[in-house]
Symmetry: C2
Subunit: 337 residues, 2 copies
Amino acid sequence: MNKVKVNDPYLIFLGSETNPTYAKTGFGIADWQPEKCVGQFHLPGGSVDLGLEELSLEAAAEKGAKTLVVGTATIGGGIPADWITALKHALELGLDIAAGVHTRLADQPELVETAALLGRTLTDVRVPPRDIPVGTGKKRTGKRLLTIGTDCALGKKYTALQLSKELQQASVKATFRATGQTGILIAGEGMPIDAVVADFVSGAAEVLSPDNDPDHWDIIEGQGSLHHPGYAAVSVGLLLGSQPDVFIVCTEAGRTHVAGWPDFPLPSIEDVIERAIAIGSRTNAQIRCIGISANTSKLGEKEARDYLAKLSAEHGLQATDPMRFGMAEITQSIKSL
Amino acid sequence: MNKVKVNDPYLIFLGSETNPTYAKTGFGIADWQPEKCVGQFHLPGGSVDLGLEELSLEAAAEKGAKTLVVGTATIGGGIPADWITALKHALELGLDIAAGVHTRLADQPELVETAALLGRTLTDVRVPPRDIPVGTGKKRTGKRLLTIGTDCALGKKYTALQLSKELQQASVKATFRATGQTGILIAGEGMPIDAVVADFVSGAAEVLSPDNDPDHWDIIEGQGSLHHPGYAAVSVGLLLGSQPDVFIVCTEAGRTHVAGWPDFPLPSIEDVIERAIAIGSRTNAQIRCIGISANTSKLGEKEARDYLAKLSAEHGLQATDPMRFGMAEITQSIKSL
């Protein structure tokens, strides 16, 4: 059974982008997997700098790049004409192409034709693989952790990435399991879980974290939130299929309402823990919360430390901002499990 | 925003089927909407009788049939060659075609070509419409009831159909809202909710039951179960998007485990009520359980009455088998709301 897969080394394509905000995917890859990247490539006028070596397409091909990865997005998610010319040239130079933008590579006739002719691969990482099975609910070997949010877009991916990194540094067998487009490009494989047909969401999560060594940890990137008025179905399917042994609740200091749904207050951390255990215990009776990850980027350092200490005391759990203070305590807890 | 739609009057196509089990869709339509059907049509060798007038394709066209509806399924869900010949002839006679079988009409080149040439419509009722929005969670006008199961395939559709019928007979404004292929063909419209991409499930449920008169009831067909290891994502999205005021728990006497998932015990009715209220209160704070619908087909009449009386006493709710004893009490309760 397949996941979405992208071969490295990558050349990160940045178009003619000048605003770093639109190159979040590129920064994500360069920050978390610089060793996967041979360099970055711009079109004329582009100025976003990921800190990678600036390469021509030809130089990237010579350096062994296997895949050109689109690391930026346009307003509206389209693929402009000048991109097509460059992407086609990359195919001609022997590279495959992968992208997570809204418009599909597979809907660009010129790219499809060239790729078919030359035997190259176009990978739309937002498109789920075929033949995803229905979830079985059967217990798998190995251990699993899922990041579960009080909302969308507040650090579930980066919490999972940081924890995977610290576990690996602490000699714990651990694999980051990606469920969204940026995560998939960072990891080189994964499952775009929110694009899967509803009947197969928990099956897709099962495929994502298959049987593994008894002492191996899958650190699974959460999506949406269990209390989200629009996206809870995704989160519930992911939770059931992931059958996590432990989970981390991810939140953001100061966020009071669901982003984009101003009539919906954020659930409390207590509510999230309770709901996650109620639902998750269906496929893993041992499920429990192991810590809180809070995005404190809007607070000063002292405020952030006080906020985390308060969270920790209130919930009797370790609480950290992974990007600011690391995850040493949670890593230690997992190591001792 | 679109639902899947099928125009009546129907001619029900039964192929050369001899086993009524495979013609469940045909029976569903003929039983619940005989007035929508001009008749039934067999291929040579077919013998399943829905109790409708036996018509040739020509006679059906003359009687005003607008859509040939495939009312039977083959093992494996395919569309045999002799079906194609007949379906093509129906298109030529002016009928559209609708089907809910696994193989898509849209994947049959001969039908697609003929339909395009003649301006006819092929409707695969398992295929969701395009442009389904993300769920907003905004409260809509009108009242809503959802049937919620302890498991799949135990009477959620028939409970909703029977209740819609009794409410209409009691002069309550009520509309059956279909979420599965048979329901959609019975109603002539609906949303194949389990085939919708996970991110859009609650949005699809919102489209299915739009704003309505304050005294109008949408009676929404449930899918899956909130405790299902494979399908819970569908059920959660449907619940959030339906924002029901009341729900009916549907179960089956004697079923102890999730059908097809023998390691998973059925949740208790109490658990289902609690979970439905916990999740559903996010989009409708007033949500409550109004009754229990039990499929008692495996019990004798006396046993069934005792079983229902016990359910009713245990849960302090009206309990009935809609197919056996009707839904007078629940209808009365809804009328008084």
